[in-house]
Amino acid sequence: MELQTPDLTACPECDALQRIPQLRRSTAAHCFRCGAELHRFQPASLDRTLALLTGAAVLLVGANTHDLMSLDSNGIETTANIFQTVLALRDHGMASLAIITLFSVLLLPATELAVMLAMLLPLRLGTVPPWLAVAFRTAEGVRAWVMLDVYLLAVIIATSRLSQLATAEIGNGLYALGGYVLLRAMAMQAYEPNEVWRRVAEIESARTVDREPAEARP
């Protein structure tokens, strides 16, 4: 059963019952007992998240369709994009590593963006999509396993190691990847999951008012 006191919450990290205070600009509510962050004041949270993730999606496509870098040694040139680094692991007998890499740098980042956009875009347009709950759960579930920020650091480390061996040149894919990591981090900072449910409640109450026009407008 749902509880009808929306400002009452329990801390997810210590279970202390408490009321969420009215937040002012650039403040956050922390649990009085364990200090975990409960809510953060985020003006236009969903709009900013949607805008930043749309940009991140474009850059993620770019990061996957361009080379991360190229390497020139004695006239032999090799290049690699994200998917080729996954394939290289498989081709060298490391199928288990290839699968984990495939999920953490390719499939899950794409899934996360797809479900977040599929959730936020309809909400922006004023409808509650039937897949909202599934999209929300999926986004929360995959978040910890999206590792393109770690992968970006790895590509930078690899570039500087290879520059001792041969001429290493950074490709456009790496710039796109850097942009994606930055925009996604900013989006996650702006994203306040509670706002999703507040928006859903707003849309649903507006719909009820529309059905009773006598009450709705003067």
Binding site: A10, E13, L89, A166
Partner: protein
């Protein structure tokens, strides 16, 4: 005394943070808002977390003793463990890189196994020692462990790029699989650990 949600029959959905009033003795409850399964506390949290952690601790040994990469340069092949790779980088004056890789690949997994073992043991004994410090430690371990994957990804990029046949080549070696398993298992261990168990003994709740 702090009022605990669980003591009032209120369960929090850990996915969408909706509070639910749950009748005593209710089996399988799912969230009315987002549909996730909800529990009073994560199910058999300490057992699961300890099992993942034990597996990680066992694999930490081959991850550090078995070579993770074999590099060839003009007919000379050399196998490196994580540590010998770090030492090699340090000697070739790539000191910043050596430090990053030492922290991410050796120090972080070891520290993480030790601190999670400590947190699980303290929760198991219903200890009331410094819960706020333990909460901070938990948040830190949950955040940093993913960065240990950096070594696996560096390997993937090197293997994809360095294929000049006789001049130079890079091959991943079996230690890398053990190392990757350590990272994934420690992540699963910290996701299964329920930080609320750190605080329950203060309100005379057990298990």
């Amino acid at each position: 005394m702090t009022a605990l949600a669980a003591d009032r029959g209120l369960w929090l959905c850990l996915t969408c943070e909706q509070l639910h009033r749950v009748e005593p003795g209710a089996a399988r409850v799912s969230c009315s808002r987002c549909g996730s399964a909800i529990h009073e506390r994560k199910p058999s949290s300490l057992t699961r977390s300890a099992a993942f952690l034990a597996a990680a601790a066992v694999l930490y040994i081959p991850a550090n003793l078995v070579p993770v990469v074999t590099t060839g340069k003009l007919f000379v092949a050399q196998s490196d463990t994580i540590m010998s790779g770090v030492i090699h980088l340090w000697r070739t004056d790539a000191k910043l890189l050596a430090t990053i890789l030492f922290i991410a690949s050796i120090a972080v997994p070891a520290l993480k196994i030790a601190t999670l073992a400590f947190l699980i043991a303290m929760a198991q004994r219903a200890s009331r020692w410094q819960p706020r410090t333990r909460a901070v430690i938990y948040r830190a371990t949950a955040y940093i462990s993913r960065w240990s994957m950096v070594d696996i990804y560096v390997g993937a990029v090197l293997v994809a790029l360095v294929q000049f046949k006789v001049f130079a080549s890079v091959e991943p070696a079996p230690g890398a699989v053990a190392f990757c398993a350590v990272v994934v298992l420690t992540m699963l261990a910290s996701l299964s650990f329920d930080p609320r168990l750190t605080w329950d003994p203060l309100e005379h709740r057990h298990g």
